[in-house]
């Protein structure tokens, strides 16, 4: 029972493949297409946020404001714990707890460290604080008047 049979061992990594496409990994993919359009007239690199402001609406490719950052790739590491055949064993045990359990407990600090590093290393990324703090109803109402309905 403890030996992982071959078929799931092949299936499981396959099932994980959607992860980079559907989760944060989307950023690098779409970035190449949109980043160059995002900030016409602004310097490349760190300060390309406001460029999209005026021409934002429309065909949907120009208004994403995606900022690729290599540190974000660290967020993929915790996903390794979805590959169950790696740790689906009873031994070696730790204070009587099978490997399957304590190994996964170890991934809690792994996840924390990865997110913490990304937090620290991307902390200085520029944000916009110039916009007024618009709250709820008034703003959405104004938005609705300007928007057309779907064709």
């Amino acid at each position: 029972m403890s030996s992982a049979s071959p078929p799931p061992a092949e299936d499981t990594p396959g099932a994980n493949q959607p992860t980079p496409d559907t989760a944060p990994g989307t950023a690098p993919d779409t970035a190449s297409g949109s980043a160059s359009e995002t900030g016409p007239g602004t310097a490349a690199g760190t300060t390309k946020t406001k460029g999209a402001n005026g021409n934002g609406a429309g065909n949907g490719r120009s208004a994403n404001g995606i900022r690729p950052n290599a540190w974000n790739l660290l967020l993929l590491i915790p996903l390794l714990m979805l590959v169950t055949p790696w740790f689906n064993h009873d031994g070696p045990r730790f204070i009587g707890i099978p490997f399957f359990y304590w190994f996964q407990f170890l991934f809690v600090p792994v996840g924390v460290i990865c997110v913490w590093i990304v937090h620290v290393m991307t902390r200085t990324e520029p944000v916009r604080t110039d916009k007024p703090d618009l709250l709820a109803a008034q703003q959405l109402d104004a938005g609705q008047l300007d928007e057309g309905d779907v064709q």
């Binding site: 078929p7 949907g60 490719r61 709250l135």
Partner: protein, 552 residues
């Protein structure tokens, strides 16, 4: 009722009463312009700092389900139930970046719900309506799950009546909850979450140190559990489970963890917790600090094995006449702890059910108000009217969930949550992917939603109960049963997979195909109300010590 149960009940009632007072007092806490604005009632004024957010989101995500349903699943089927740990570990790396973007764009445009964002991003009231309805419908079973946890505690204390009267204590608890949520909004669960988490940490630390020693150490506990789970059940002719995954459920384990993680921050109540924080830094810090709860969750899951080793028998629910496996942890506590401490533990579980139930009903009420009432019934609603509408809607949601729990056997209440997860996952393309790209067309998203939803519900319908008969028996499908228009890609395979992931794949495929067709036909589309910089907006620095980062 035994004398021990009376002590337990008294302790439970005292703590419940204290929390109730706190719930009403919360209305005055950090008060803003008054609760007659939806931002105040439904998002606590958007000014919760790191600590409040940690308790609020923690109270929101780690619920009665943590205490009751996960250990019950481990108790019943072994290693599979431990999926809750990888689920909450992969969760934060996955949602960190999208949550920040959602917070910023919502702050800039005053969005209160995920459907508000979809409305602004795609300008499509129909798509926003679908997202809102999905959110409300998927939240109902989640609230019902909390009720199942609360009821498990009440029945263990001895309030185990039969028929409709058996649910009376639950009704009373929920009327109380409904009243203070009505008056205090999101501030009530935020304040109560402090008490809840304090109690929970206390109980867990005691339980995880004391219980394994009492029952002969972990080695003995796991060996006993392994032996017990391997026994062939007379009804299903299969072993109940194992302490290590089998060839058949490894894929299910991974897809359950991944699917649940992807689903969690699509739930309106998680979004509410995120949007209520006051800055991006608060969210970032919390994504680092929230896994502290994951450790607790994992330890709690192991208590399922302790219950096996202790020979715990679930209590027979007098209302349904069947053994309710949700009661195993309360029963374990009741048998091994002194009655006063068992009372504290029961109160922790009970309050642990009330906090998320309150947040969930507020989130669902926000959806109703913003995306259905205001969109389709009263476009010129004032903020005060919105807030009033939301308060009443939160009542309706709670009582809807009560009806749910009375009508449905809460045996494996975790299945309720997994079914809700299948539904809410179908909003991923329109909410999460839309945070990054607007390439998918509104009509593609609508078509994908319809297909994903229909197929997901159909697959759930085809899954028989453990006895081999019936429908909606769980969320795991054997790949051999998978049929694509009559074609079986994996004939005779008994490997199981989480239905939500299959339905999401179908959803995405359809969304891409329809988008390609619509774009080829050059159909128009509505304006995008958001712009690139909106996804990085932050609140101005409060301290004044640092220069606010202004980007040109």
């Amino acid at each position: 009722m035994t004398s021990a149960q009376i002590v337990e009940l008294v302790v439970f009632l005292i703590l419940f009463l204290a929390v109730t007072v706190l719930g009403f007092v919360a209305a005055r806490w950090k008060r803003g312009a008054g609760l007659d604005h939806l931002d105040e009632w439904g998002l606590g004024g958007r000014k919760f700092g790191s600590w409040v957010t940690w308790f609020l989101v923690g109270g929101d995500l780690y619920t009665a389900y943590t205490f009751v349903a996960v250990p019950a699943l481990v108790f019943g089927s072994g290693a599979l139930g431990f999926y809750a740990l990888p689920y909450t570990v992969v969760l934060y790396p996955i949602v960190l970046l999208p949550a920040l973007r959602l917070w910023s764009v919502s702050r800039t445009h005053g969005y209160v719900t995920p459907a508000d964002f979809v409305r602004g991003r795609y300008g499509s009231p129909l798509l926003a309506l679908l997202i809102a309805i999905t959110g409300i419908v998927a939240t109902m079973p989640y609230v019902a799950l909390q009720l199942a946890g609360l009821e498990a505690v009440l029945r263990t204390i001895g309030l185990n009546g039969s028929g409709l009267m058996g649910h009376l204590p639950l009704f009373i608890a929920f009327v109380v909850l409904a009243l203070y949520t009505f008056s205090s909004g999101l501030r009530a669960p935020a304040l109560i979450a402090f008490v809840k988490d304090g109690l929970i940490y206390l109980v867990i630390l005691v339980a995880i140190v004391y219980l394994p020693i009492k029952f002969g150490g972990f080695a003995h506990i796991f060996d006993t559990a392994s032996h017990t789970l391997a026994k062939v059940s007379p009804t299903t002719h299969k072993p109940a489970g194992s302490i290590i995954l089998t060839g058949n459920n490894q894929l299910q384990y991974a897809t359950l963890a991944l699917g649940s993680a992807l689903a969690l921050f699509l739930y309106p109540h998680s979004v509410t917790g995120v949007l209520a924080s006051k800055s991006r830094t608060v969210i970032r810090r919390n994504m680092v600090a929230l896994p502290a709860y994951s450790l607790v969750l994992g330890l709690l899951a192991l208590l399922g094995y302790v219950a096996v080793a202790a020979g715990v028998k679930p209590i027979v629910n007098q209302a349904t006449g069947k053994a309710d496996s949700n009661t195993i942890i309360p029963v374990l506590f009741g048998h091994t702890f002194p009655s006063w401490f068992a009372g504290v533990a029961f109160a922790a579980v009970g309050i642990g059910a009330l906090v998320p139930a309150a947040i969930m009903s507020i989130a669902a009420a926000n959806l109703w108000t913003r995306n259905i009432y205001k969109e389709f019934f009263r476009r010129d609603a004032t903020p005060a009217q919105e807030a009033r509408q939301a308060k009443w809607a939160s009542l309706v949601v709670k009582f809807g969930a009560v009806v749910f729990i009375v009508a449905i056997d809460p045996q494996f209440s975790i299945d309720l949550q997994l079914i809700g997860g299948v539904l809410i996952l179908q909003t991923l393309p329109a909410v999460a992917i839309a945070l990054y790209s607007r390439w998918l067309h509104a009509w593609g998203l609508i078509a994908g939603w319809v297909v994903g939803m229909a197929w997901g519900v159909y697959l759930l319908y085809t899954i028989p109960a453990a006895t081999g008969k019936g429908h909606f028996g769980g969320s795991a499908l054997a790949l051999g049963k998978l049929s694509l228009f009559g074609w079986h890609p994996f004939p005779a395979s008994t490997v199981q997979i989480y239905v939500g992931v299959l339905a999401l794949i179908a959803n995405l495929v359809v969304a891409v195909i329809v988008t390609a067709i619509v774009r080829a036909a050059r159909a128009g589309e509505a304006e995008d109300a958001t712009s690139g910089g909106d996804y990085h907006a932050d609140a101005p620095e409060e301290t004044g010590l640092e220069e606010p980062v202004l980007v040109d």
